[in-house]
Every structure is written in structure tokens, then in C-alpha cells.
């Protein structure tokens, strides 16, 4: 797994890339939670994720919960098909705010 962090209109965007599995999900979790602890709004870009396992999804869940608690904005953007089917399995596609792109999210905010 690789990841990339950038700033976009008041959001921090974390792009996850490759396989998010047990071996690297603790790292992804740390990135997500650190970012939110700093009080930054967060979008996680899953477009380049070819595989995500439940530990990876668990990190996203934890992130979303933390964002809600701290009243921060959180969302998943351009979710790849592979990631989407895993989210759907636990019906999390109906729980997370999911957007086609960062732009779409920004428009919704307006």
C-alpha cells in the first residue's frame, strides 16, 4: 500500500493506493486518525485501491466515528469497484458519505 496526502479547499485528502490489508491497515489507520485529531476535515480517496480487507474498512469506520464526534467533515471519494463491493458486503455503502469526486463533495458543501 502507498498513500498520498494533499490539501484541497479546506479538506485533507488521503489517497490510498494498492492493497490495503492487515499488513498496512495500522499505518492507514494512524494517518486517518492523526489527521482528524489535528482537527482537519478529511476525504479518503479510494480510486486506486485494488483490494481492501476488513481491517482497512475498520480504520475508515473508526475515522468516520471520530470525525462525527469532533464535528469534522468526512467522506469517501471515487471508491473503486473492488472497495465498493467490500463496503456493500457489510452494508457500509449506506453509512459512509460517498462521493464520485472531491469536486462533487465541494459542490454539495455549498
Amino acid at each position: 500500500m502507498k498513500y498520498n496526502t494533499r490539501e484541497d479547499n479546506g479538506y485533507t485528502v488521503i489517497e490510498l493506493d494498492g492493497e490495503v490489508d492487515l499488513s498496512c491497515s495500522p499505518e492507514a489507520r494512524k494517518q486517518i486518525l492523526d489527521c482528524l485529531s489535528d482537527g482537519r476535515h478529511l476525504l479518503v480517496d479510494l480510486s486506486a485501491v485494488v483490494y481492501i480487507d476488513s481491517s482497512g474498512v475498520a480504520s475508515l469506520v473508526e475515522g468516520y466515528q471520530m470525525a462525527k464526534k469532533k464535528d469534522l467533515k468526512f467522506g469517501l471519494v471515487s471508491v473503486s469497484e473492488a472497495a465498493m463491493s467490500v463496503l456493500q458486503l457489510a452494508r457500509l455503502d449506506k453509512v459512509f458519505p460517498i462521493h464520485a469526486s472531491v469536486e462533487e463533495r465541494l459542490q454539495e458543501d455549498d
Partner: protein, 269 residues
Amino acid sequence: MNHTSITGRPAIEVKDLVTHYGSREILHGISLTINEGEIMIIMGGSGSGKSTFLRYILGLGTPTTGSIKLLDKDITKISSSEMLELRKNMGVSFQGGALLSSMTVGENIRLPLYEHQSQLNEQTMRIMSRMKLEVVNLGGFENFMPSQLSGGMIKRAAVARAIVMDPKLMFFDEPSAGLDPVVSAELDELILKLRDAMKMTIVVVTHELDSAFKIADRITVLDNGHILMTGTVEEVKNSTNDRIQSMLNRRPSNEEINADEYLQRLTGM
């Protein structure tokens, strides 16, 4: 490694598997290849050797001869530490669920994580186990003891435990045994969902025709420790083999009797 659906690459390769129980030969040289992302149903009546076959591909017994390759590793040859690594990629749903009765449902599901992924944060483990409970429609049953659940719920909880590590290989032993038709159909749906979402390779041992036809990519029919045939649902349905037809039509088979052997069994001489 990629995670696309049926790639045609073998996930499980069994060659010339011969097993004994005491001095009795149970499986007489079974060879079978199961591809990645495939749902393979192992069918057969009781005494056909299907449960024995499952035990051996799960590495619960040592075969007399033959090789069993799971994810390119021959489990009859690898070291115990390699086997341990392999086991993290295998999930098994046993006939009766086999949840540890001394633990809550949640503790049962987290057990593989505690044992093998202690680098994970406690909260992550909890979320993972709860997610799996949601997958099998048992959200909120985390703190129940297995004895407080119905048979169908125990089976689903056992599936949740089996998939908590997101295994690549998943095995079901008689998933619909003892379940009412509705619950059994739900379990079939779940098996299909798991394959599609998690790209698992799934082996189901069953004698339930309806459920087999619904979920199978291919079916292997075992009889008396031999493979009668391996093929798609259509191929099995159209088979001209008597034994298969009598199984499909639920007719008792008219077995020929070897008079000498039969007499010997009766008199014990």
C-alpha cells in the same frame, strides 16, 4: 497478487489422494482442481467420502499418498510454520458451527485476530468483528453466548468467525444441514456474496441438491471414495451415469451385491 474473479489459476489442487481409516481405504485416489474465485460443490451421499475429503484438504489428517496443494503450497510437505501462515488464509464453517462455548459470540469472532494479528489495535479488532456480524445479519449479538443462539444463528456466527481474517479460501461443511429453507437460502446468498465481494475461492460440502445447483460454478460428485464426475450444474444434470441420476431423483440406488463379500460380512468368517 491480483484479486479478480475466476482467473483459471488453481487455488486448490488435489492429486491422487488416498486415505485410510485404520486399515480401511476411504478415498481411492482423488484428483481435483479448484480454481481461484470458483464455488466448487462436493456432493455425495453419506459414506461417499465427502466429509473425509474435506478433513484432508483442511489439513486435519495425514493422507496415505497423494498431494494437496492449497494456494501453491503442498500441505502434505510444508513445515508447521508455513502451515500456520496458510491457515490464516483459510476459513472454515463447520457443520454445527463449532463456536467455543466458553466465550461470547464476539470473543469467538475476535479469537483468530487476537491469536494472529496482535499488532492490530483493540478497537480495530472490535470494529472488524462487528462488521462481520453485520455481514451475516447478526448485528448486536456480540455479547451473547453461543448457547443463547438458535442453530441458524450459530452457523452464521461461525461464518463470521471464519471470514474475520478475510481468507482467500473458504470451506463450508453442510451449510444447510438442520436449517429451515429460508435460513438455508439466506446462507446460500451469503456464500455468493462472499465470493463476489471478497473474491474468495469457496468449497462447499453438501448433500442438498437445491442449494448446490443454486450456488455452484462446478460440482464434484463423490461416491464410495471415487469421483463420479466433475462438471458444471448443467453437465451434472445431464449426466447419464446411473448413480448420479438416482441421486438427482432421490432414488435409492440399486446396488449390485457381491454375494461372497456380503456373506463374509454377515458371518464374520
